[in-house]
Protein backbone atom coordinates (compact mmCIF):
# COMPACT_ATOMS: atom_id res chain seq x y z
CA UNK A 1 0.00 0.00 0.00
CA UNK A 2 2.69 2.46 1.03
CA UNK A 3 5.12 3.39 -1.70
CA UNK A 4 8.67 4.63 -1.05
CA UNK A 5 8.84 8.39 -1.40
CA UNK A 6 5.07 8.87 -1.68
CA UNK A 7 3.62 10.53 1.43
CA UNK A 8 0.17 9.08 2.23
CA UNK A 9 -2.23 11.82 3.41
CA UNK A 10 -4.09 11.02 6.63
CA UNK A 11 -7.27 12.56 5.24
CA UNK A 12 -9.53 11.26 2.52
CA UNK A 13 -11.77 14.31 2.27
CA UNK A 14 -10.81 17.88 1.32
CA UNK A 15 -12.99 19.40 4.09
CA UNK A 16 -13.86 22.04 1.50
CA UNK A 17 -16.06 25.10 1.82
CA UNK A 18 -17.46 27.32 -0.92
CA UNK A 19 -14.10 29.10 -1.28
CA UNK A 20 -11.91 25.99 -1.65
CA UNK A 21 -14.25 23.49 -3.38
CA UNK A 22 -13.42 24.59 -6.96
CA UNK A 23 -9.75 23.74 -6.39
CA UNK A 24 -10.64 20.16 -5.47
CA UNK A 25 -13.19 19.90 -8.28
CA UNK A 26 -10.34 20.78 -10.66
CA UNK A 27 -7.82 18.32 -9.20
CA UNK A 28 -10.36 15.53 -9.69
CA UNK A 29 -10.34 16.43 -13.37
CA UNK A 30 -6.53 16.48 -13.46
CA UNK A 31 -6.32 20.26 -13.57
CA UNK A 32 -4.48 22.74 -11.38
CA UNK A 33 -6.69 25.74 -10.68
CA UNK A 34 -5.78 28.97 -8.94
CA UNK A 35 -7.94 31.73 -7.52
CA UNK A 36 -7.28 35.17 -9.07
CA UNK A 37 -8.45 38.48 -7.66
CA UNK A 38 -10.59 40.15 -10.34
CA UNK A 39 -9.66 43.60 -9.00
CA UNK A 40 -5.85 43.44 -8.94
CA UNK A 41 -4.91 40.08 -10.46
CA UNK A 42 -3.16 38.66 -7.39
CA UNK A 43 -3.14 34.85 -7.45
CA UNK A 44 -4.09 33.05 -4.24
CA UNK A 45 -3.42 29.47 -3.17
CA UNK A 46 -4.98 28.34 -0.97
CA UNK A 47 -7.92 30.49 -2.01
CA UNK A 48 -9.07 32.93 0.67
CA UNK A 49 -12.16 35.08 1.20
CA UNK A 50 -10.16 38.29 0.69
CA UNK A 51 -7.21 39.40 -1.43
CA UNK A 52 -4.28 40.32 0.82
CA UNK A 53 -3.05 42.86 -1.74
CA UNK A 54 -6.20 44.93 -2.39
CA UNK A 55 -8.67 43.41 0.11
CA UNK A 56 -11.02 42.63 -2.78
CA UNK A 57 -13.64 39.93 -2.33
CA UNK A 58 -14.15 38.88 -5.93
CA UNK A 59 -12.20 36.07 -7.53
CA UNK A 60 -12.17 33.95 -10.65
CA UNK A 61 -10.64 30.53 -11.16
CA UNK A 62 -7.94 30.17 -13.77
CA UNK A 63 -6.18 27.02 -14.91
CA UNK A 64 -2.40 26.91 -14.49
CA UNK A 65 0.04 25.03 -16.71
CA UNK A 66 1.11 22.79 -13.84
CA UNK A 67 4.75 23.75 -14.29
CA UNK A 68 6.68 25.04 -11.32
CA UNK A 69 10.02 25.60 -9.62
CA UNK A 70 11.31 24.24 -6.31
CA UNK A 71 11.50 27.25 -3.97
CA UNK A 72 12.72 25.20 -1.00
CA UNK A 73 12.41 21.65 0.28
CA UNK A 74 13.36 19.07 2.87
CA UNK A 75 14.11 15.37 2.65
CA UNK A 76 12.22 13.72 5.50
CA UNK A 77 14.27 10.74 6.70
CA UNK A 78 12.82 9.97 10.15
CA UNK A 79 9.48 8.16 10.14
CA UNK A 80 7.19 9.90 12.62
CA UNK A 81 4.50 7.24 12.23
CA UNK A 82 4.83 3.47 11.80
CA UNK A 83 3.20 3.62 8.37
CA UNK A 84 5.92 6.01 7.19
CA UNK A 85 8.74 3.47 7.74
CA UNK A 86 8.19 2.20 4.22
CA UNK A 87 7.87 5.72 2.82
CA UNK A 88 10.98 7.58 4.07
CA UNK A 89 13.00 9.17 2.71
CA UNK A 90 10.48 11.41 0.97
CA UNK A 91 10.78 14.95 -0.40
CA UNK A 92 8.47 17.76 0.71
CA UNK A 93 8.76 21.00 -1.22
CA UNK A 94 7.48 24.53 -1.50
CA UNK A 95 6.80 25.10 -5.19
CA UNK A 96 6.34 28.36 -7.05
CA UNK A 97 3.87 27.86 -9.86
CA UNK A 98 4.14 29.18 -13.41
CA UNK A 99 1.54 31.82 -14.10
CA UNK A 100 1.52 33.15 -10.51
CA UNK A 101 3.46 35.88 -8.72
CA UNK A 102 5.09 33.27 -6.43
CA UNK A 103 4.51 34.13 -2.76
CA UNK A 104 0.81 34.02 -1.98
CA UNK A 105 0.20 31.18 -4.41
CA UNK A 106 2.93 28.71 -3.52
CA UNK A 107 1.99 25.05 -3.39
CA UNK A 108 3.29 22.69 -0.74
CA UNK A 109 3.75 19.27 -2.32
CA UNK A 110 5.50 15.93 -2.15
CA UNK A 111 7.98 15.46 -5.01
CA UNK A 112 7.78 11.83 -6.17
CA UNK A 113 9.65 9.72 -8.73
CA UNK A 114 12.90 11.41 -7.79
CA UNK A 115 16.17 10.48 -6.10
CA UNK A 116 16.04 12.71 -2.98
CA UNK A 117 19.80 13.28 -3.17
CA UNK A 118 19.43 15.05 -6.51
CA UNK A 119 16.75 17.61 -5.56
CA UNK A 120 17.92 21.24 -5.65
CA UNK A 121 16.25 24.62 -5.19
CA UNK A 122 15.43 25.96 -8.65
CA UNK A 123 14.62 22.52 -10.12
CA UNK A 124 11.73 22.51 -12.59
CA UNK A 125 8.81 20.29 -11.64
CA UNK A 126 5.42 19.39 -13.03
CA UNK A 127 2.25 18.90 -10.98
CA UNK A 128 0.56 15.52 -11.30
CA UNK A 129 -2.56 14.21 -9.61
CA UNK A 130 -3.08 11.31 -7.24
CA UNK A 131 -6.60 10.07 -6.49
CA UNK A 132 -6.76 9.35 -2.75
CA UNK A 133 -10.52 8.80 -2.51
CA UNK A 134 -13.74 9.51 -4.38
CA UNK A 135 -13.75 13.07 -3.09
CA UNK A 136 -10.03 13.85 -2.80
CA UNK A 137 -7.42 13.97 -5.54
CA UNK A 138 -4.17 15.55 -4.34
CA UNK A 139 -1.50 17.30 -6.38
CA UNK A 140 2.06 15.97 -6.23
CA UNK A 141 5.15 17.03 -8.15
CA UNK A 142 7.50 15.12 -10.45
CA UNK A 143 10.74 16.33 -12.03
CA UNK A 144 9.98 18.17 -15.27
Amino acid sequence: MSKPGVYPPIISDPYADAVTQPFWDATRKGRLACSRCTTCGTMLLPPQPRCYHCQGAHFEWVELSGGGTVYSFTVVRHALRPDLQAVVPYVSAVIELEGTQGAGARLLANIIDVDPATVRIGDKVKIVFDEVSDTLTVPRAIPA
Binding site: V19, T20, L45, Y52, T74, R77, H78, A93, A105, V132
Partner: protein, 398 residues
Protein backbone atom coordinates in the same frame (compact mmCIF):
# COMPACT_ATOMS: atom_id res chain seq x y z
CA UNK B 1 7.33 51.18 29.29
CA UNK B 2 11.10 51.57 29.48
CA UNK B 3 12.51 50.70 32.93
CA UNK B 4 9.11 51.15 34.60
CA UNK B 5 8.86 47.48 35.50
CA UNK B 6 11.27 44.82 36.69
CA UNK B 7 11.54 41.07 36.93
CA UNK B 8 11.90 40.27 40.61
CA UNK B 9 11.39 36.55 40.92
CA UNK B 10 12.04 33.34 39.03
CA UNK B 11 10.93 29.87 40.13
CA UNK B 12 11.19 26.48 38.54
CA UNK B 13 10.65 22.78 38.92
CA UNK B 14 13.43 20.40 37.89
CA UNK B 15 13.59 19.67 34.16
CA UNK B 16 12.78 16.19 32.93
CA UNK B 17 12.89 14.36 29.64
CA UNK B 18 9.47 14.21 27.93
CA UNK B 19 7.08 12.24 30.12
CA UNK B 20 9.53 12.06 33.03
CA UNK B 21 7.65 14.46 35.32
CA UNK B 22 5.00 11.96 36.45
CA UNK B 23 3.47 11.76 39.06
CA UNK B 24 3.50 15.57 38.91
CA UNK B 25 0.79 17.23 36.79
CA UNK B 26 0.93 20.40 34.73
CA UNK B 27 -1.04 22.08 37.55
CA UNK B 28 1.20 20.85 40.37
CA UNK B 29 4.30 21.94 38.47
CA UNK B 30 2.77 25.37 37.81
CA UNK B 31 2.00 25.81 41.51
CA UNK B 32 5.54 24.82 42.49
CA UNK B 33 7.07 27.26 40.02
CA UNK B 34 4.78 30.18 40.94
CA UNK B 35 5.33 29.78 44.69
CA UNK B 36 9.09 29.46 44.18
CA UNK B 37 9.14 32.59 42.02
CA UNK B 38 7.18 34.59 44.61
CA UNK B 39 9.50 33.36 47.34
CA UNK B 40 12.55 34.30 45.24
CA UNK B 41 11.13 37.84 45.11
CA UNK B 42 10.29 37.92 48.81
CA UNK B 43 6.58 38.04 47.99
CA UNK B 44 3.67 35.73 48.75
CA UNK B 45 0.53 34.56 47.00
CA UNK B 46 -1.28 37.48 48.70
CA UNK B 47 0.73 39.86 46.50
CA UNK B 48 0.00 38.16 43.17
CA UNK B 49 -2.72 39.85 41.11
CA UNK B 50 -2.05 39.10 37.46
CA UNK B 51 -1.32 36.42 34.87
CA UNK B 52 0.40 37.36 31.60
CA UNK B 53 0.96 34.18 29.63
CA UNK B 54 1.55 32.93 26.07
CA UNK B 55 0.86 29.78 24.09
CA UNK B 56 -2.18 29.03 26.32
CA UNK B 57 0.33 27.79 28.88
CA UNK B 58 -2.16 27.47 31.73
CA UNK B 59 -5.65 28.38 32.85
CA UNK B 60 -5.35 31.33 35.25
CA UNK B 61 -8.86 30.58 36.56
CA UNK B 62 -7.74 27.17 37.73
CA UNK B 63 -4.39 28.24 39.16
CA UNK B 64 -5.80 31.28 40.97
CA UNK B 65 -8.40 29.10 42.66
CA UNK B 66 -5.99 26.27 43.49
CA UNK B 67 -3.40 28.67 44.93
CA UNK B 68 -5.88 30.99 46.68
CA UNK B 69 -4.92 34.20 44.92
CA UNK B 70 -6.98 36.88 46.75
CA UNK B 71 -7.98 38.82 43.62
CA UNK B 72 -6.98 38.52 39.97
CA UNK B 73 -6.88 41.94 38.28
CA UNK B 74 -5.37 40.92 34.97
CA UNK B 75 -5.38 37.64 33.03
CA UNK B 76 -4.33 37.63 29.39
CA UNK B 77 -2.30 35.70 26.88
CA UNK B 78 -0.32 36.44 23.78
CA UNK B 79 -1.80 34.44 20.93
CA UNK B 80 -0.05 31.68 19.02
CA UNK B 81 2.74 29.55 20.50
CA UNK B 82 6.33 29.78 21.73
CA UNK B 83 6.84 33.03 19.83
CA UNK B 84 5.33 34.81 22.81
CA UNK B 85 7.65 33.55 25.56
CA UNK B 86 9.83 36.67 25.84
CA UNK B 87 6.83 38.83 25.00
CA UNK B 88 4.87 37.56 27.99
CA UNK B 89 7.17 39.71 30.14
CA UNK B 90 6.15 42.67 27.95
CA UNK B 91 2.49 41.75 28.41
CA UNK B 92 3.02 41.70 32.17
CA UNK B 93 4.74 45.09 31.95
CA UNK B 94 1.88 46.51 29.87
CA UNK B 95 -0.59 45.43 32.54
CA UNK B 96 1.55 47.00 35.26
CA UNK B 97 2.37 50.28 33.46
CA UNK B 98 -1.30 50.77 32.64
CA UNK B 99 -2.17 50.32 36.30
CA UNK B 100 -4.30 47.23 35.86
CA UNK B 101 -2.19 44.96 38.06
CA UNK B 102 0.96 45.18 40.16
CA UNK B 103 2.48 41.73 40.63
CA UNK B 104 2.13 39.62 37.51
CA UNK B 105 3.28 36.09 36.78
CA UNK B 106 4.34 34.76 33.38
CA UNK B 107 4.44 31.01 33.18
CA UNK B 108 5.07 27.88 31.19
CA UNK B 109 4.15 24.47 32.52
CA UNK B 110 4.80 21.64 30.13
CA UNK B 111 4.03 17.96 30.50
CA UNK B 112 4.31 15.87 27.37
CA UNK B 113 2.69 12.62 28.35
CA UNK B 114 0.80 11.01 25.49
CA UNK B 115 0.89 14.29 23.57
CA UNK B 116 3.77 15.97 21.87
CA UNK B 117 4.39 19.60 21.23
CA UNK B 118 4.12 21.42 17.95
CA UNK B 119 1.22 19.62 16.33
CA UNK B 120 3.49 16.83 15.18
CA UNK B 121 1.33 14.24 13.47
CA UNK B 122 2.50 10.97 14.97
CA UNK B 123 -0.83 9.16 14.63
CA UNK B 124 -3.01 8.32 11.67
CA UNK B 125 -6.73 8.85 11.33
CA UNK B 126 -8.64 12.10 11.60
CA UNK B 127 -6.49 15.22 11.65
CA UNK B 128 -6.02 17.02 14.94
CA UNK B 129 -6.45 20.67 14.10
CA UNK B 130 -7.59 23.62 16.10
CA UNK B 131 -10.77 25.10 14.71
CA UNK B 132 -12.25 28.34 16.03
CA UNK B 133 -14.77 27.63 18.77
CA UNK B 134 -16.94 30.31 17.18
CA UNK B 135 -16.79 29.07 13.59
CA UNK B 136 -18.81 26.24 12.18
CA UNK B 137 -16.40 23.75 13.71
CA UNK B 138 -14.59 20.86 12.12
CA UNK B 139 -11.47 20.87 10.01
CA UNK B 140 -10.60 24.30 8.52
CA UNK B 141 -11.04 24.37 4.73
CA UNK B 142 -7.41 25.32 4.09
CA UNK B 143 -6.13 22.33 6.08
CA UNK B 144 -6.21 19.94 3.14
CA UNK B 145 -3.82 22.13 1.15
CA UNK B 146 -0.96 21.12 3.42
CA UNK B 147 -2.07 17.61 4.21
CA UNK B 148 -0.60 15.86 1.17
CA UNK B 149 2.89 17.34 1.31
CA UNK B 150 4.41 15.29 4.12
CA UNK B 151 5.31 18.38 6.17
CA UNK B 152 3.96 17.04 9.45
CA UNK B 153 6.21 18.42 12.16
CA UNK B 154 7.81 21.76 13.03
CA UNK B 155 11.22 20.25 12.23
CA UNK B 156 10.16 19.68 8.63
CA UNK B 157 9.02 23.29 8.38
CA UNK B 158 12.21 24.76 9.77
CA UNK B 159 14.27 22.50 7.51
CA UNK B 160 12.55 24.18 4.56
CA UNK B 161 13.43 27.67 5.83
CA UNK B 162 17.00 26.53 6.49
CA UNK B 163 17.45 24.98 3.04
CA UNK B 164 16.49 28.32 1.51
CA UNK B 165 18.94 30.18 3.76
CA UNK B 166 21.73 27.80 2.71
CA UNK B 167 20.82 28.32 -0.95
CA UNK B 168 20.81 32.11 -0.71
CA UNK B 169 23.77 32.69 1.57
CA UNK B 170 25.98 29.61 1.59
CA UNK B 171 25.16 28.68 5.18
CA UNK B 172 26.47 25.17 5.95
CA UNK B 173 25.99 22.33 8.40
CA UNK B 174 29.37 23.32 9.88
CA UNK B 175 27.72 26.53 11.06
CA UNK B 176 24.82 24.64 12.64
CA UNK B 177 27.28 22.23 14.26
CA UNK B 178 29.05 25.16 15.94
CA UNK B 179 25.71 26.31 17.40
CA UNK B 180 25.00 22.83 18.80
CA UNK B 181 28.50 22.42 20.24
CA UNK B 182 28.56 25.92 21.77
CA UNK B 183 25.31 25.24 23.58
CA UNK B 184 26.37 21.81 24.74
CA UNK B 185 29.58 23.28 26.15
CA UNK B 186 27.45 25.75 28.11
CA UNK B 187 24.98 23.09 29.28
CA UNK B 188 27.68 20.75 30.58
CA UNK B 189 28.41 23.03 33.52
CA UNK B 190 24.79 23.53 34.57
CA UNK B 191 23.36 21.05 37.07
CA UNK B 192 19.88 21.69 35.63
CA UNK B 193 20.84 20.47 32.16
CA UNK B 194 19.40 17.27 30.72
CA UNK B 195 22.29 16.80 28.27
CA UNK B 196 25.61 17.15 30.10
CA UNK B 197 27.89 14.85 28.13
CA UNK B 198 30.25 16.57 25.66
CA UNK B 199 29.21 16.77 22.01
CA UNK B 200 31.95 16.37 19.43
CA UNK B 201 32.01 17.41 15.80
CA UNK B 202 32.21 13.74 14.78
CA UNK B 203 29.14 12.86 16.84
CA UNK B 204 27.27 15.74 15.24
CA UNK B 205 28.13 14.71 11.69
CA UNK B 206 27.45 11.02 12.42
CA UNK B 207 24.03 11.72 13.98
CA UNK B 208 20.93 10.65 12.05
CA UNK B 209 19.52 13.20 9.64
CA UNK B 210 15.88 13.70 10.65
CA UNK B 211 14.91 16.07 7.84
CA UNK B 212 17.62 17.51 5.58
CA UNK B 213 19.50 19.69 6.32
CA UNK B 214 18.80 19.14 10.04
CA UNK B 215 20.13 16.25 12.13
CA UNK B 216 19.23 15.01 15.60
CA UNK B 217 21.39 17.65 17.31
CA UNK B 218 19.79 20.52 15.40
CA UNK B 219 16.43 19.62 16.93
CA UNK B 220 15.39 20.67 20.42
CA UNK B 221 14.94 18.10 23.12
CA UNK B 222 11.41 17.39 24.34
CA UNK B 223 11.12 18.15 28.03
CA UNK B 224 8.76 18.47 30.98
CA UNK B 225 8.87 21.16 33.65
CA UNK B 226 7.56 24.57 34.72
CA UNK B 227 9.09 28.02 35.08
CA UNK B 228 7.37 31.11 36.51
CA UNK B 229 8.61 34.70 36.31
CA UNK B 230 7.30 37.55 38.48
CA UNK B 231 7.22 41.12 37.15
CA UNK B 232 6.25 44.20 39.19
CA UNK B 233 6.69 47.98 39.26
CA UNK B 234 10.23 49.41 39.36
CA UNK B 235 9.39 51.10 42.69
CA UNK B 236 8.18 47.92 44.31
CA UNK B 237 11.10 45.97 42.82
CA UNK B 238 13.55 47.96 44.92
CA UNK B 239 11.99 46.50 48.08
CA UNK B 240 12.10 42.91 46.84
CA UNK B 241 14.62 40.28 47.89
CA UNK B 242 16.74 40.22 44.71
CA UNK B 243 18.49 42.86 42.68
CA UNK B 244 15.85 44.13 40.19
CA UNK B 245 16.18 43.21 36.54
CA UNK B 246 14.54 46.07 34.66
CA UNK B 247 12.43 45.62 31.53
CA UNK B 248 13.98 48.05 29.04
CA UNK B 249 11.73 47.10 26.14
CA UNK B 250 9.54 44.35 24.82
CA UNK B 251 7.89 43.95 21.43
CA UNK B 252 5.81 41.27 19.81
CA UNK B 253 4.21 40.74 16.41
CA UNK B 254 5.61 40.42 12.92
CA UNK B 255 4.86 41.32 9.32
CA UNK B 256 1.27 40.45 8.44
CA UNK B 257 2.30 38.25 5.54
CA UNK B 258 4.73 36.39 7.81
CA UNK B 259 1.45 35.13 9.25
CA UNK B 260 1.42 31.49 10.31
CA UNK B 261 4.84 31.17 8.58
CA UNK B 262 5.27 27.43 8.79
CA UNK B 263 3.12 24.29 8.86
CA UNK B 264 0.89 24.57 5.81
CA UNK B 265 1.65 28.23 4.96
CA UNK B 266 5.10 29.18 3.52
CA UNK B 267 3.69 32.25 1.71
CA UNK B 268 6.15 34.75 3.25
CA UNK B 269 7.50 37.25 0.70
CA UNK B 270 10.96 36.51 -0.73
CA UNK B 271 12.75 39.19 1.26
CA UNK B 272 12.08 37.50 4.59
CA UNK B 273 11.30 33.88 3.78
CA UNK B 274 14.73 32.69 4.96
CA UNK B 275 14.56 34.56 8.25
CA UNK B 276 13.32 34.17 11.79
CA UNK B 277 10.46 36.62 11.25
CA UNK B 278 11.88 38.81 14.02
CA UNK B 279 13.17 41.81 12.01
CA UNK B 280 10.23 44.18 12.68
CA UNK B 281 10.09 43.11 16.33
CA UNK B 282 13.83 43.72 16.74
CA UNK B 283 13.56 47.21 15.25
CA UNK B 284 10.69 48.25 17.55
CA UNK B 285 12.35 46.70 20.59
CA UNK B 286 15.64 48.55 20.06
CA UNK B 287 13.77 51.81 19.39
CA UNK B 288 11.82 51.43 22.60
CA UNK B 289 14.97 50.70 24.59
CA UNK B 290 17.10 53.39 22.94
CA UNK B 291 19.96 50.93 22.46
CA UNK B 292 21.25 48.73 19.63
CA UNK B 293 22.75 45.27 19.18
CA UNK B 294 26.24 46.50 20.13
CA UNK B 295 24.90 47.30 23.61
CA UNK B 296 23.68 43.76 24.26
CA UNK B 297 26.01 41.68 26.46
CA UNK B 298 24.33 38.28 26.23
CA UNK B 299 21.68 36.90 23.87
CA UNK B 300 19.23 34.18 24.87
CA UNK B 301 17.78 33.20 21.51
CA UNK B 302 14.89 30.76 21.24
CA UNK B 303 16.41 27.62 19.77
CA UNK B 304 13.83 24.97 18.95
CA UNK B 305 16.05 24.39 15.92
CA UNK B 306 19.70 25.43 15.63
CA UNK B 307 19.34 27.41 12.37
CA UNK B 308 16.87 29.76 14.02
CA UNK B 309 19.68 30.92 16.32
CA UNK B 310 21.64 31.86 13.21
CA UNK B 311 18.72 33.68 11.58
CA UNK B 312 17.92 35.59 14.79
CA UNK B 313 21.55 36.74 15.04
CA UNK B 314 20.96 38.35 11.64
CA UNK B 315 17.48 39.67 12.40
CA UNK B 316 18.59 41.24 15.70
CA UNK B 317 21.47 42.97 13.93
CA UNK B 318 24.45 41.17 15.47
CA UNK B 319 25.66 40.59 11.91
CA UNK B 320 24.36 41.54 8.46
CA UNK B 321 21.57 39.48 6.83
CA UNK B 322 23.06 36.36 5.28
CA UNK B 323 26.29 36.50 7.28
CA UNK B 324 25.17 34.51 10.30
CA UNK B 325 27.22 31.50 9.21
CA UNK B 326 30.64 33.18 8.97
CA UNK B 327 29.83 35.21 12.11
CA UNK B 328 29.25 32.01 14.08
CA UNK B 329 32.31 30.34 12.53
CA UNK B 330 34.50 33.10 14.00
CA UNK B 331 33.52 32.02 17.50
CA UNK B 332 31.33 35.06 18.04
CA UNK B 333 28.64 33.21 20.01
CA UNK B 334 30.96 31.44 22.44
CA UNK B 335 31.40 32.51 26.04
CA UNK B 336 34.01 35.27 25.72
CA UNK B 337 33.03 35.88 22.08
CA UNK B 338 31.52 39.01 20.56
CA UNK B 339 28.00 38.08 21.71
CA UNK B 340 27.69 35.03 23.97
CA UNK B 341 24.56 33.09 22.99
CA UNK B 342 22.47 30.67 25.04
CA UNK B 343 24.89 30.52 27.93
CA UNK B 344 22.53 28.09 29.71
CA UNK B 345 22.63 25.50 26.91
CA UNK B 346 19.21 26.42 25.54
CA UNK B 347 16.56 24.08 24.27
CA UNK B 348 19.15 22.06 22.41
CA UNK B 349 21.01 20.97 25.54
CA UNK B 350 19.59 22.27 28.82
CA UNK B 351 15.81 21.75 28.59
CA UNK B 352 12.87 22.80 26.44
CA UNK B 353 10.36 24.70 28.54
CA UNK B 354 9.20 26.73 25.52
CA UNK B 355 11.47 29.71 25.98
CA UNK B 356 11.17 30.32 29.71
CA UNK B 357 14.61 28.83 30.43
CA UNK B 358 15.93 31.73 28.36
CA UNK B 359 14.14 34.29 30.54
CA UNK B 360 15.48 32.56 33.64
CA UNK B 361 19.04 32.65 32.26
CA UNK B 362 18.76 36.35 31.37
CA UNK B 363 17.73 37.10 34.95
CA UNK B 364 20.58 35.01 36.38
CA UNK B 365 23.08 36.75 34.09
CA UNK B 366 21.88 40.20 35.15
CA UNK B 367 21.89 39.27 38.83
CA UNK B 368 25.49 38.13 38.28
CA UNK B 369 24.81 34.57 39.47
CA UNK B 370 24.77 32.64 36.17
CA UNK B 371 26.70 29.38 35.97
CA UNK B 372 28.36 30.62 32.77
CA UNK B 373 28.49 34.25 33.84
CA UNK B 374 29.23 36.86 31.19
CA UNK B 375 31.51 39.34 32.91
CA UNK B 376 29.76 42.61 33.78
CA UNK B 377 26.62 41.66 31.86
CA UNK B 378 24.35 44.71 31.92
CA UNK B 379 21.89 44.11 29.08
CA UNK B 380 20.39 40.79 28.00
CA UNK B 381 18.26 40.01 24.96
CA UNK B 382 15.62 37.28 25.28
CA UNK B 383 13.55 36.12 22.33
CA UNK B 384 10.47 34.00 21.70
CA UNK B 385 10.34 31.25 19.12
CA UNK B 386 10.45 31.94 15.44
CA UNK B 387 7.08 30.56 14.35
CA UNK B 388 3.64 31.95 13.59
CA UNK B 389 3.22 35.56 14.69
CA UNK B 390 3.46 37.03 17.24
CA UNK B 391 7.15 36.43 17.77
CA UNK B 392 8.72 38.53 20.49
CA UNK B 393 11.87 40.08 21.86
CA UNK B 394 12.58 41.58 25.27
CA UNK B 395 15.56 43.58 26.53
CA UNK B 396 16.36 43.31 30.22
CA UNK B 397 19.00 45.26 32.15
CA UNK B 398 20.42 45.17 35.61
Amino acid sequence: MRDKTAVVGVGSTPYWKRGGSLPESDTSMACTAILAALDDAGLTIKDLDGFAIYSSSCDPALLASVLGVPEVRFAATLTSGGGGSAGSIGLASAAIVSGQAEVVVSLMTLQQVGRRLGGTQTGSGAPVVRASPYGSGGVPPTYAFGAFSGVISPGHSFSILTQRHMHLYGTTREHLCEIAINQRNNAIKRPTSIRREPLTRDEYFNAPMLSDPLCLFDYTMESDGAIAVITTTAERARDCRQRPVYVMASANGGMGRWGPAIGAYFQQPDEYFASSGHRPVARRMYEMAGVGPDDVDVALLYDHFSPMVLMQLEDYGFCPIGEGGPFIAEGAIRLGGKIPVNTHGGHLSEAYIIGMTHVREAVEQLRGVAVNQVENAEIALVTGGPASLPVSGTLLRR
